[in-house]
């Protein structure tokens, strides 16, 4: 049953909130930028291949240019040598953007508690979803994707996320 404007204008018009329609679009057309450095990137390859088929979630357009992507998947260990580049690429992505830390290394440094490895990429850039596992299974990647979609549903266009984030390189 139609209400308000829709009732008087008939089937040709749908009214909704701006947030909702835009978030609906964003949710189902995430373009991932795969920041693959190590083992997790191989599991992402599996998530993209036929058996798990990430395109079922509308996220199969893997971009290798940060300027064309809105979802950054950090798959693998980030060393201090790499951290500068990670930050720079994150900054090159246009807003709005989301970050998934895939696997133990990206989330916390994992088994590499030593001089070379960043102990979690959330010390460099803001992270939305963490995936556990070393490496996580492809199902976990899909699960993270669904979680990001749920998160996007509740976001507002007027609010800038992570405005006051400050990492070790800032």
């Amino acid at each position: 049953m139609a209400l308000g404007l829709e009732a008087s204008l008939g089937d040709t018009v749908v009214t909704t909130k701006l947030d909702e329609i835009i978030n609906w679009g964003r949710q189902y057309s995430l373009w991932p930028f795969v920041y693959g450095t190590a083992c997790c990137a191989i599991e992402f390859m599996s998530a993209a291949a036929s058996q798990y088929d990430i395109s079922r979630y509308g996220a199969e357009v893997v971009r290798f240019s940060p300027r064309q992507a809105d979802l950054m998947l950090v798959c693998g260990t980030i060393s201090y040598k790499q951290a500068v580049i990670l930050k720079r690429i994150y900054e090159q992505m246009p807003h709005p953007k989301w970050v998934v830390a895939m696997g133990a290394c990206a989330s916390s440094g994992g088994i590499y508690d030593n001089y070379a490895t960043v102990q979690g990429i959330d010390t460099i850039i803001p992270v939305d979803i963490y995936i556990s596992g070393c490496p996580p299974r492809p199902e976990a990647v899909l699960d993270a994707l669904i979680k990001i979609q749920d998160q996007i549903k509740g976001e507002s266009l007027l609010q800038d996320r992570h405005q006051d984030f400050k990492g070790i390189l800032d």
Binding site: C39, A41, A49, S50, T77, S79, Q82, V84, D113
Partner: protein
Amino acid sequence: MNTTALENIKAAFPDATCKVVLGSVVLDVQPENIENTLSRLKNDAQFNCGLMLDVTAIDYLDYPEQKEARFFVVYTLRNWEDNLLIQVRTPVTDPDKGIPTATHLFGAALFGEREVYDQYGIHFQGHPDLRRILNHWQFEGHPLRKDYPIDKRQICYESDSLEKEIKARLAKKGVDESTMKDINTEVMFLNLGPSHPATHGAIRILTALDGETIIANVNEIGYLHRGFEKTSETLTYNQVIPLTDRLNYCSSMMNNIAYAKAVESWLGVEITERAQFMRVVLSEFYRVLDHLVCLAAALVDMGGLTNYWYLYNEKEAAYDLISRLTGARLTSSFTRIGGMYRDFYDGWKEDLEIQMKGIEKGVGDSLKLVETNRIVHDRTQDVCVLSGETALNYGLTGPTLRASGVAYDMRKDAPYYNYEAFDFDVPVGSKGDVYDRFMIRYEEIAQSLRIIRQALKHIPEGPVNIDNSQICLPPKHQVYNNIEGLSNHFKLIFEGVHAPAGEWYDGFEAANGELGFHFVSDGSGKPYKLKVRPPCFYIMGGFHKMVEGNMIADAVINLSCINIIGGELDR
């Protein structure tokens, strides 16, 4: 190694101390003789050690036994035709002064010595490009020195421009500053990576271009350096196994096996017949999987996306068997010192046969697209040619070396686990171009499947772990039901397997080439030093030799066909 070879070495180097460790000769020479020794070992026909496998150093600061100097540099050389492995050690009294370089003798030393400089701070006099390689340029100190705390992290604020290096390389090629600036011959610099789809991980390739042709190339690696070697020093021998998974993560089990084999060779244990067969079957299966991933990704880089589905889907299918066997998809951790984690499950032979049939079908489908495809031929034949001589000089091993026509394969030339009893061929390339590197991998898949089928026929029944309470954990019913079993379990878990004090090197033919482990043990349950000889590292060291003079697009497919894996390259 036979005794005459040892006699010859002793006669040729009367000043050096010479001993035999695990069939390899260890020569101790003074720094002033190091150049002569290495040059003689390389050029003298009776030694013919044309392959420099590795360069590393040892820091004896905390070592229980007093040595004549704190640092020693070790060069590992191989004469692959006669299966002769020689390690040349030299003391370094003053690391800042260092020792003379070996770069004019072996191209492999260019990368090898840089790593020693980076990790240990030992200077090499006359090295043309001595700077950090794994750690970032703002790093201070040398992490593998024993007095560097493992958790002392250093932040890098800016990446290195590499401008000096590329200009030096250009100057070497005869392009000087004025030619670079001349409007007619202006050189264009193009940077690929470290985050670039073609680099499959994180490698930075900086090229100087004339049109589309690469005049000069320098590379930067170390973006995935995660301190494997330093971390290993804090773990027991068995605890290192999960770390080895993450070296070449496309064929994790081969690293497990190579590592366990290296430790067992020093302990002097012979694993059970069944475990040996298991290791052969599994390492050949993983060789196939590694080649599948390499070919799938390489063909995508060339624009053949269909090949990715044909080849990668078979790898994906193989995970069913692997996860049933090991409990994990990618990181298997399946070996233990003295055997395997557990035996195969019931019905594994049928599963394996199904997987192999699938792989044969996938490879066949892919070959139909590639074998007679004019575009593939034009893009790969006579592209990025590397002669056998240069390949050996730069320390290349594995399929990339064999593509250049050198038939060195450890499974034939230094066999282990009864490889001499298997009937298989070692394919070699005729040109050393990208085409050969592709086709070698297709052929090796077929040969590996051949080995697996033979092994399946002859695999004996029996235990998979040796019966030695000092090395292998006792069965669970003993741990739960009697005090000897419990204390045995406790001691092995807490203290680890005790390796007698000493130093040794052991190699293994992994999917990318010779994967070697160089250990120093102080007699405790943890390695005093553990150095990996990664095949990728030296292949990357010869990368500029392959791509200079070729087009930029050729460099991309060349990078994918040499299968650089970050975990192993940077450790």
